[in-house]
């Protein structure tokens, strides 16, 4: 027994010993700011609302999780941040709207579509979720619930996109999702794309199956596995519907049942003659309609057709644009742009069944709301679900972020702004799909952006005029092959070098006016992978999205401009050490480390600490392999080491090494952001307001601010401000209970921005980073008992400020506004005097910070400095301002003393007046009180008026000047100083006046009260 306890103790000690791993919690209060923006939102994949209230609505997105509004769209919050962010389908239990199903893995099967990990359920309106299963389906197109028996659920799973699989088809549960049975399965190549239940006869179920496959360089929609199916026994048996439909093979079929007249169906059938078909007899017979272009466009991508829940003739077709029919699909009209442009490419629609004028539309660029049955639309500006591919930064103050988004062009926006970063501050600079955007490091007015297929522009940032600088095919060269997402990169060693790449690498040193090709074809040039014109299947579809055998990523070594790495989408990883004269392919070498061949090289990070060191990520998901492939070589790619971690999820997009600490790395994958502080031995998933499975496409570290900038494909830009505390954190430091971090000198400022004046009127607004560097400390564990406090002392040891400290595990931050405590303000009056919250900034000098954690004290120093470059506010100005502010500060405190002495005496009178018997004394007390009150009303605003009836007395007069002088970063004006002198004499007069009144009455009144036994004897004078 004793052995057992010692062993147990040993065990606990052993686990205790390794208890402080550095992980996301170490970041503590260093949380991500969600920069958004909401002005170009992202692809919306599902919208479902609660019929019972018409204002609780759930929005499923392609890469930003699920967002919920409880006010019909005035505001949204994310409710799925701990899970897979790609949403395919949502369903709400019609009888109990707290029950929600979320199928992950969207089914708009474009090249960049993400992957899901199963079906989830919430029973409390999205507060908490449980995974039910179906993990390997990867894509879920629809979830429908039997309205009569809501434990019966159907799940349509097209299934894996990039490989054959049995995990596809139509699944059914009869126990609310606990167990599922596959009730319609065609083949390992064909899944289920759509399902509907006849609301009047819920055993009647319709489903469409779909044969679809993507390869890295082509896709095919269509095959004998596609079909339209009906069951009248809840899915036990199925019959294929054919009468009136075109000849097979079919591609994708989208369809809808009219819930108010359920024999009526509409279907868009992709085939050699894709068309819209209607049935009036439960699908037994179909009739083709005349609808063309928008209604039948791109069936693999636009798979939504909806019938008004009340009106079986009203048919909506959200597709390339928005079409609606009032005659059951015979003729269609297109929505107007009267309420503003409606983003193209539509994937989701919800109609409020109790008010069918109210419609929510999901597009490639966010959510729109219509209140007139889809004729005009209003854009929802508060969904920050943009799908960035890459991000870059400049060095302006505040710096800007540049990036390109899926179907949303290229944009630039500030990292901080007065009042926060709102939608309107983001500026579109290029159209199409956006990918790489690079600000010119040598010219603040120029940036480079592209649309799909290498269409690069040099853009004047002032007027957004563009010059096309795409390299062109030269004599004797093969046709140029540009990736959908073509790299545009500036040199890390020589910032004059601008690179871009087809199968060849190009370099320009004059802003793209002249290009030099600096490589041969770096790809495998496999002709079998270059037949994009044949791609699409039944409907030809060649948009450059499948272009292949191209250079996908490249990087110039930060240590040597002649050392350049390039990676292709077909597995080649090559470098040159002579600026492109000769190239070496290391593809065979990484394969030796177990990394699969012919993957996409998704990113390359040549180390900035050692020329021979390089990191690379490899994305093999297009061959059905979702593993996180991260490689490292310390010998110029000759040998590779595979870096792995049990924490990793999702295929890898980007590896980034810190600029200062070589062992700090960040890895972005399709399912999360990961960090390591020991060069890749131990990894942790980043949380701290970063969605745990965020689709991370790019990572930057700002060289001046040390911010971590994360470009996500579904949550816009996320920024963790100033990661230097983590960068500098040693393992030994993390073992300590408390660490007060040293402070670099702080420049005295009231902040980066003025207060603007008006709050935001809606739309997405991101908060700003702290304008003043916070005081930072580390706590090994959350402090549950005892106080945490930060006190600041000046050089003379006087307490200047005291601030409650946060107590969370990891890095904590306390904001000190570099000011002393505000003055004591004359008490009472009719309204709050703002001066009580306003304090003069302290003067430059050395200050002591004392961090108190329970009974322990930790001390550090901080130097506050004046900005010598500020010509509008010199050190001399600062001293004058401080002197004037302190003079006025003292006036407030003196006035407060006078008012206190009046209040004390008025209280004495009030407390005793009714108890006094002597009538002379009583009269005298009344007179005393009246004179005090008269004086008091001259000292501060006392009238109980509304806020609109401004009353200004001495207190308010002092505040006007005090607030002006204290709140400005400027020397006081001549009249501010003159006014201060006047107010000083006013206060002095009032002090005298108070003395006179008190002298006149006080002794006598107190003597009278004493005589009547109402107050105690006069305190004896001590000492002399």
């Amino acid at each position: 027994m004793r052995i057992l306890t010692t062993a147990l103790a040993l065990l606990i000690a052993a686990t205790g010993f390794t208890q402080t791993p550095i992980n996301s919690s170490t970041f503590g209060m260093m949380e991500a700011r969600w920069l958004g923006p909401g002005t170009m939102s992202g692809r919306i994949t599902a919208i479902e609302g609660v019929a019972q209230d018409g204002k609780t609505i759930y929005i499923g997105t392609a890469g930003g999780g699920i967002w919920k509004t409880t006010n019909a769209g005035a505001s949204f919050k994310p409710i799925f941040d701990r899970y897979c962010q790609s949403i395919g389908a949502l369903a709400i239990d019609p009888n109990n709207p707290k029950v929600i199903f979320a199928g992950t893995g969207e089914s708009n099967m474009r090249n960049s579509v993400s992957i899901g990990d199963g079906l989830y359920k919430s029973t409390d309106g999205g507060d908490n979720w449980t995974k039910l299963g179906l993990e390997k389906t990867e894509h879920i197109a629809k979830v429908v619930i039997n309205p009569r028996e809501t434990n019966t659920i159907y799940v349509a799973a097209p299934g894996p996109l990039w490989h054959s699989s049995k995990e596809r088809g139509l699944y059914k549960s009869t126990d609310g999702g606990k167990t599922f049975e596959k009730i319609l399965f065609i083949s390992e190549e064909a899944g289920c794309a759509d399902v509907a239940v006849d609301p009047e006869h819920p055993d009647t179920v319709y489903a469409s199956t779909w044969e679809f496959r993507r390869k890295p360089y082509a896709f095919n929609s269509g095959g004998n596995g596609s079909g339209m199916w009906k069951s009248t026994d809840g899915g036990k048996t199925w019959k294929e519907l054919k009468n009136g439909l075109p000849a097979k093979p079919f591609g994708r079929i989208a369809f809808a049942v009219a819930s108010s007249a359920s024999q009526n169906l509409v279907a868009i059938v992709e085939s050699k003659e894709t068309g819209l078909f209607i049935s009036a007899d439960g699908g037994e017979n179909w009739k083709k309609q005349s609808a063309t272009f928008n209604v039948v466009s791109r069936p693999f991508y636009f798979s939504t057709i909806v019938i008004d829940p009340k009106d079986p003739k009203r048919v909506y077709r959200p597709a390339l644009s928005f079409s609606y029919s009032s005659d059951g699909g015979y003729s269609f009209a297109d929505a107007s742009n009267e309420g503003g442009w409606v983003h193209s490419d539509h994937h989701a629609l919800w109609i409020n069944p109790n008010n069918t004028n109210q419609i929510y539309l999901g597009t490639d660029g966010g959510v729109y709301i219509s209140l007139d049955r889809g004729a005009t639309w209003n854009f929802v500006q508060s969904l920050p679900v943009g799908q960035f591919y890459h991000a870059s930064v400049d060095d302006r103050k505040p710096y800007n972020i540049y990036g390109g988004l899926q179907d949303n062009g290229s944009w630039v926006g500030p990292s901080a702004a007065a009042g926060g970063v709102s939608n309107g501050l983001w500026k579109p600079i290029n159209g199409g799909d956006g990918f790489w955007v690079q600000p010119d490091p040598n010219d603040i007015y120029t940036a480079y952006a592209e649309s799909q297929g290498g269409n690069i522009n040099r853009i004047n940032l002032v007027n957004t005029k563009a010059v096309n600088i795409k390299p062109q095919q030269a004599p004797g060269e093969e046709k140029l092959r540009w990736n959908w997402n073509t790299p545009i990169v500036f040199g890390a060693a020589n910032k004059k070098n601008l690179y871009m790449a087809s199968q060849y690498l190009y370099k320009s040193v004059d802003q793209g006016r002249n290009w030099a090709r600096i490589s041969p074809d770096l790809t495998t040039n496999d002709k079998k992978k270059q037949e994009q014109e044949e791609s699409g299947g039944l409907s030809a579809d060649n948009t450059s999205a499948e272009n292949h055998c191209t250079i996908f990523t490249m990087a110039e070594s930060p240590l040597d401009e002649k050392l350049i790495w390039a990676g292709t989408d077909d597995g080649n990883l090559q470098y040159t050490t002579d600026a492109g004269k000769t190239w070496t392919n290391v593809a065979a070498n990484y394969k030796n480390a177990g990394i699969p061949a012919q993957t996409w090289i998704s990113s390359i990070e040549p180390s900035r600490f050692d020329k021979k060191v390089v990191y690379a990520t490899f994305d093999n998901h297009m061959y059905g392999d979702h593993k996180t492939w991260l490689g490292y070589s310390a010998d110029m790619g000759r040998t590779w080491k595979l870096i792995s971690s049990p924490e990793f999820t999702g295929f890898a997009h980007i590896i980034r090494q810190d600029l200062i600490n070589k062992d700090l790395l960040f890895l972005g994958t399709e399912m999360g952001l990961f960090g390591t502080l020991d060069g890749g031995q131990n990894w942790f998933r980043m949380k701290n307001k970063i969605p745990e499975y965020a689709l991370v496409r790019d990572i930057k570290i700002h060289p001046r601010t040390h911010d971590l900038i994360i470009a996500t494909h579904g949550r816009g830009i996320l920024i963790v401000d100033d990661i230097s505390p983590i960068r500098n954190l040693k393992k030994e430091t993390a073992e300590k209970d408390v660490v007060l971090f040293p402070n670099a000198p702080i420049t005295l400022t009231m902040g980066q921005f003025g207060d603007g004046g008006f709050p935001s009127t809606g739309g997405w607004v991101a908060g700003n980073p702290p304008s003043i560097p916070p005081i930072k400390y580390y706590l090994k564990d959350r402090v549950n008992s005892g106080e945490v406090k930060v006190e600041i002392f000046d050089a003379a040891g006087k307490l200047v400020q005291s601030i409650p400290g946060s107590k969370r595990k990891g890095v904590n931050m306390v904001m000190w506004n570099l000011s002393m405590k505000p003055p004591k303000i004359a008490s009472g009056g009719a309204k709050i005097d703002f001066a009580g919250f306003l304090a003069p900034m302290v003067l430059p000098g050395e200050y002591t910070i004392k961090l108190k954690v329970a009974d322990s004290v930790y001390t550090s120093k901080v130097k506050l400095v004046h900005d010598p470059l500020d010509k509008n506010f010199t050190l001399e100005d600062r001293k004058k301002q401080n002197k004037a502010a302190m003079d006025l500060y003292q006036l407030h405190e003196r006035l407060a003393t006078v008012v206190d002495s009046i209040n004390d005496r008025q209280k004495l009178v009030k407390d005793n007046l009714t108890k006094v018997t002597d009538s002379t004394l009583k009269r005298s007390m009344v007179a005393y009180n009246e004179e005090l009150e008269k004086l008091r009303t001259e000292l501060l605003a006392t009238k109980k008026n509304s806020v609109f009836a401004d009353e200004k007395k001495l207190r308010e007069d002092i505040t006007e000047v005090y607030a002006g002088v204290t709140g400005q970063e400027a020397a006081p004006s001549n009249l501010q100083l003159q006014r201060t002198v006047t107010l000083q004499s006013e206060v002095k007069k009032k002090e005298e006046a108070a003395k006179v009144v008190i002298k006149k009455y006080d002794e006598a009144v107190k003597a009278g009260l004493r005589k009547e036994g109402l107050i105690g004897p006069k305190p004896e004078k001590k000492g002399f």
Binding site: N128, P804, A830
Partner: protein
């Protein structure tokens, strides 16, 4: 030896993995904060606290008479406002921006505010009080993996409590107020837990979205008249 260690490891992990029920977590929590017996003796509570905003102070006094009344007095620079809740009435008076008379709470606000009349905390005898509690599992709260309890109050409002598995103190609560057709979520963090002479343990610091409030004095079972809860 290796095998013993291994079996111990299994034992130890079985020990920690063992599923806890909501009631077990609540029982440990109540023990940690002084025990049911001590809490049941609480009839009135007066908490005096200070909210600091860069040195400016807002004084707050919260007085609760168990089941009968709650009054919160807020004073800033000699000006005082209040909120009063009784089983039948609710008032708000916030003169700081020029309000001149107290205003009645709406019926829905009053219904939600009834939770504040419980001086003994919602988890003590929660079933008797008509609340439902569910243990959702564990969730990371500011870096600490906590038990997550969902409390559905008798009146229908929902709050989520996060309990530190080491100390069994509540470290954070999230409550959703739904009055007047709006939905507002308020997150409060609790710290600076201290044992009072009455044997109960209370958080003396509460962090709200706008700042941290620190209790300077807590009086348990001091004399509080019902008449105190009048406007």
């Amino acid at each position: 030896m290796k095998r013993i260690l291994l079996s111990l490891l299994v034992l130890a992990s079985a020990f920690t993995v063992k599923a806890q029920t909501a009631d077990e977590v609540i029982a440990k929590h109540i023990d940690a904060i002084g025990g049911a017996e001590n809490w049941k003796k609480v009839n009135s509570m007066k908490m005096e606290g200070v909210l600091q905003v860069q040195g400016a102070e807002v004084n707050v006094v919260v007085t609760v008479l168990h089941g009968k009344g709650m009054r919160q007095d807020i004073s800033v620079m000699g000006m005082t406002g209040y909120e009063i809740v009784t089983p039948t009435e609710g008032w708000d008076f916030m003169p700081f921006q020029g309000q001149t008379e107290p205003e009645a709470k709406t019926a829905e606000e009053l219904a939600e505010a009834q939770d504040n009349l419980d001086a003994q905390g919602e988890l003590l005898d929660y079933a008797t009080k008509g609340h439902k509690v569910e243990l959702i599992g564990k969730e990371d709260v500011e870096g600490t993996e906590c038990f997550k309890l969902k409390v559905t109050k008798k009146g229908g409002s929902v709050s989520t409590l996060f309990i530190d598995p080491k100390s069994f103190y509540i470290v954070q609560s999230k409550s959703t107020q739904k009055a007047n057709g709006q939905e507002v979520e308020v997150t409060t963090s609790y710290s600076n837990y201290e044992k009072l002479p009455e044997g109960i343990v209370m958080a003396k610091s509460m962090t709200l979205p706008f700042g941290e409030m620190n209790m300077t004095k807590i009086t348990v079972n001091g004399p509080v008249e019902e008449s105190f809860f009048k406007k």
